[in-house]
């Protein structure tokens, strides 16, 4: 255990003894996300660096404070990538923060989410114990799968010390096609393509334009591009990075929240995760569709949009998240049914008995 981690251990133990909330901060790039920020700041970005990377094993292990960009750069040198295409909400984004937030980018439906690529974690839990779950091999069913549970838990279960992830080879070829289409037609095509063996790797509809990325072997990409038609998009890489990092114009009303200016955002951004066959949303303002239809971003202005977002997402087999907003009083995450919430509380207590880690960041009750 490094001196730094030993220091955290002592602090965590003291915090648990005195029930003092701690707010775990990596790069701070995701402070806008979640219900509320509370507790004494515990800086974790100092615990950084790649611990082990063997490209032929398809596994990378790095400490929580490692910048996401650094991890991706190291992997790119061996022609590999983080296949969940994590968003970078700023240059300081860390690997640990990315795992804790559990957000995945455009490639998610085709290559898997954060949790699908997590192989193992080392964790400092509420008792200050250093715990290792999962491992550095592709298949591992020994013990409950705590490492995948940690992905997306928003730091409420413990401090992620380091994480092992499955790496995937970068596609040999990639091309992006665009189509002029209304949303309904875009969704119809995405659904049809989804059910055929095409090398899709991203999709995004916005303002009458559908963008579809194809990745894989040269021949497969070429054959699919011939089949789908459309126009080839130049500067495709920059386009997908903008969608991924929310620097695309669609997200412009919210840019202030990334730290630049301190203006009050004019609206709320909803993230609706639903079945791919859900119809086009009929509420709120501007909409962006990603993930073959499984992800809808909706800019909402009105109070009642919140009720609609929740009800609509639930009716479409999914859930709604108030992703960016100044006023979060309607609740950020879809409320859980009572039995499930009780289970969450008991699970939280199993790893964080005094409830010190990021209390209220996910739900007020956690």
């Amino acid at each position: 255990m490094s001196d730094l981690v030993a220091g955290w251990r002592d602090r965590v133990r003291a915090a648990t003894a005195s029930a003092t909330p701690l707010r775990i901060v990596g790069g701070g790039s995701m402070d806008f996300y979640g219900q509320r920020l509370a507790g004494e700041i515990l800086e974790v970005s100092g615990h950084a660096g790649i611990v082990d990377y063997d490209p032929t094993e398809l596994v990378i292990t790095a400490r929580c404070g490692t910048r996401l960009a650094e991890v991706e750069q190291a992997m790119a040198q061996s022609n590999q990538m983080l296949a969940f295409e994590p968003p970078h909400f700023g240059p300081k984004a860390t690997l640990g923060g990315s795992i804790a937030a559990g957000l995945s980018g455009p490639r998610r439906p085709y290559a898997g989410a954060v949790r699908d690529l997590v192989l193992g974690v080392r964790l400092l839990d509420g008792r200050g114990d250093e715990l290792a779950f999962g491992g550095r091999v592709m298949k591992n069913v020994a013990g409950f799968d705590v490492s995948r549970l940690i992905a997306g838990s928003l730091g409420t279960l413990g401090i992620i010390l380091d994480v092992s992830l499955k790496c995937l080879p970068m596609p040999r070829a990639e091309t992006t096609l665009t189509f002029e289409l209304p949303a309904d037609e875009g969704l119809r095509r995405l659904n049809a393509w989804n059910a055929t063996p095409l090398p899709l790797s991203a999709s995004c509809w916005h303002q009458g334009r559908l963008h579809v990325r194809l990745s894989g072997a040269e021949s497969a990409v070429a054959a699919a591009a011939r089949r789908l038609g459309g126009e080839v998009l130049e500067q495709a890489k920059a386009y997908w990075v903008a969608v991924r990092d929310q620097t695309h114009d669609f997200f412009a009303p919210f840019r202030a929240q990334n730290g630049a200016e301190a203006a009050v955002p004019p609206a709320a951004l909803w993230r609706l995760s639903v079945r791919v066959t859900a119809p086009h949303t009929a509420f709120g303002g501007a909409t962006m569709i990603e993930w073959g239809g499984a992800l809808r971003w909706v800019v909402a202005q009105e109070e009642d949009d919140a009720q609609q977002a929740r009800a609509w997402a639930a009716a479409q087999g999914g859930h709604a998240t108030l992703f960016r907003a100044a006023d979060k009083s309607v609740g950020v995450f879809q409320p859980l049914p009572p039995a499930l919430l009780a289970l969450h509380q008991r699970l939280k207590a199993a790893l964080d008995p005094a409830g010190i880690f990021n209390p209220g960041r996910m739900y007020a009750e956690l």
Binding site: D54, T56, E57, V59, N79, R108, G112, A113, D116, D125, R127, L131, A132, F133, G135, V137, M138, K139, N140, V141, G143, F144, D145, V146, R148, L149, A151, S153, P169, N191, A192, N194, A195, P197, P199, E218, S219, A220, A224, S273, R275, T277, W291, A294, L295, Q316, G318, F333, Q334, P335, L336, P337, A339, L341, L343, H344, L347, A350, L351, Y363
Partner: protein, 484 residues
């Protein structure tokens, strides 16, 4: 015997045919696919809908009666072995495929549906369910989720956990919960990930939504033979290192080839020390390109012969030997014991050598047939249960292999689960604090420990008694626990 009051409450809930409480009636349930462990339960219950499962669990919860959920009983780690003072809850009647949606590429199925039945039903839409355990004609999707099962195709298409969208389950107190959803994620903690591989310890699964995958346009299998196993191991690393994720990458050693070839005539070279089966799937052009690349990598790695399947018939023939490996083991030996560890690929060759040495040390033959692409070993130890001490030697041999897997940075189980079988090795793989957290998670779901007790996670004093406690940094964990 089942308490008469409980029996009558169960009789109000279930038809008489759904309650088996006689010794001869429960005998078929005394073990799963690992007959080294056998136990008679007090009763076997066969509910047919979720309301009955809820009713049964409420009664068992109130009576503090242990419950072991059971699918097809093909598990290989004793996960479904009954508990002597408990009941077996069989999901065998939950056999309906509730819906298949070809647009969202999903199927909603009951837990007792067989793995292969899903692909068969989806075939009209040119879709299939990708995880394909060798037991797929028999094993159930509920069992697959509980074990997070894998198969040949999992290298490219993921394990069960990657192919399940939603699980509906009943908690021990009768509460019905859903994990995951119809979208690609869900609010709150990722309990869907946690339920996969939970070995029946957290909840009883009553419905599963699986992801379906479009059939590839083409699949081609390359069969390569090697004069020594080390070279075959290096070839595996070379293929993965070159950025290829084959649709399947399996290895078989000489003893396995010798056992299966006379049986299935797959065309395997009998003089090879090891063969690799390497599959490519995708569009016809893509497959042509990938096969050419695989071929050149295999040649550079020293393959002595390379055959490429020229037709679907030939492809299936190449695979027939792999699929027949278990029955072939049964033909050349009265009994066999399948081990399931995962290791980093770089350790394949040295670990195979060590297993060979252990085989001589224990005087037992061992066939190696396994998922080489993801480093998941399946040594099959051949033994004869009628020879005194062979069972004991086999178990000791198996335990040594698992410890070897941990030593090289791997794990004691890649896909078969811990069950009863590997409970002692859990003490080696995990430190006391980690095992304690597993128990805490278990208690969060099942405070009284009624679901599948005694499986998957060892009690700490058991580890201490075994003298196997994993020691971190020289500190003896739980020094206050008695040691014998």
């Amino acid at each position: 015997m089942l308490d008469p009051a409980l029996l009558s409450a169960l009789a109000d809930l279930l038809p008489p045919s759904a309650i088996i409480a006689t010794a001869e009636g429960t005998r078929p349930y005394e073990c799963d696919g690992l007959p080294l462990f056998r136990e008679q339960p007090l009763a076997v219950l066969l509910p047919e809908d979720e309301a009955q499962v809820v009713g049964i669990l409420r009664l068992c919860h109130a009576a503090r009666l242990p419950v072991v959920a059971r699918g097809a009983g093909t598990g290989l780690s004793g996960g479904a072995t009954p508990y002597r003072k408990g009941i077996v809850l069989s999901l065998a009647k939950f056999k309906r495929i509730l819906s298949i949606d070809p647009l969202s590429c999903t199927a909603v199925v009951q837990p007792g549906v067989r793995n292969l039945a899903i692909s068969e039903a989806a075939a009209v839409h040119r879709l299939y369910y990708a995880p394909d355990p060798s037991s797929q004609i028999a094993c159930t999707i509920g069992g697959n989720v509980a074990e997070n099962s894998g198969g040949v195709h999992c290298l490219k298409y993921g394990l069960t956990v990657h192919n399940v969208r939603r699980v509906r389950a009943v908690l021990i107190d009768g509460d019905v919960v859903e994990f995951g959803g119809e979208g690609l994620d869900a609010a709150g903690y990722d309990l869907l990930a946690l339920i996969n591989g939970s070995e029946g310890l957290l909840a009883v699964i009553t419905e599963v939504t699986v992801k379906l995958t479009p059939n590839p346009q083409q699949a081609t299998c390359v069969l390569a033979s090697f004069s020594d196993a080390e070279k075959a191991g290096d070839a595996v690393a070379a293929i993965i290192g070159a950025g290829i994720i084959p649709a399947g990458l399996e290895m078989m050693d000489q003893l396995t080839i010798a056992a299966v070839e006379p049986f299935v005539h797959a065309g395997y070279p009998l003089d090879a020390a090891a063969i690799l089966l390497c599959e490519s799937d995708g569009t016809p052009d893509e497959v042509t390109d990938e096969v050419a690349l695989m071929r050149s990598l295999l040649e550079t790695s020293g393959a002595t012969t390379i055959q490429v399947s020229q037709s679907e018939v030939q492809r299936l023939k190449f695979w027939s030997g792999r699929k027949a490996a278990f029955p072939a083991a049964g033909r050349i030996s009265p009994d066999y014991y399948c081990i399931d560890g995962t290791i980093p690929r770089r350790s394949l060759a040295p670990v195979l050598k060590r297993i060979e040495a252990l085989s001589r040390e224990f005087g037992l033959r061992c066939m190696n047939v396994f998922h080489a692409g993801d480093g998941n070993l399946h040594p099959l130890i051949l033994f004869d249960a009628n020879v005194p001490d062979e069972i004991a030697r086999t178990e000791a041999f198996g335990a040594r292999i698992l410890e070897l897997c941990i030593e090289v940075g791997g794990t004691i189980t890649g896909e078969h689960g811990v069950g009863l079988e590997k409970i002692d090795q859990m003490c080696t793989q995990f430190a006391a604090a980690e095992l304690e957290r597993f128990h805490a998670i278990k208690r969060a779901f099942d405070a009284e420990g009624l679901l599948n007790p005694g499986k998957a996670v060892p009690l700490l004093h058991r580890c201490a008694e075994m003298g196997r406690m994993h020691v971190h940094g020289g500190e003896l964990p739980y020094p206050d626990l008695p040691r014998f």
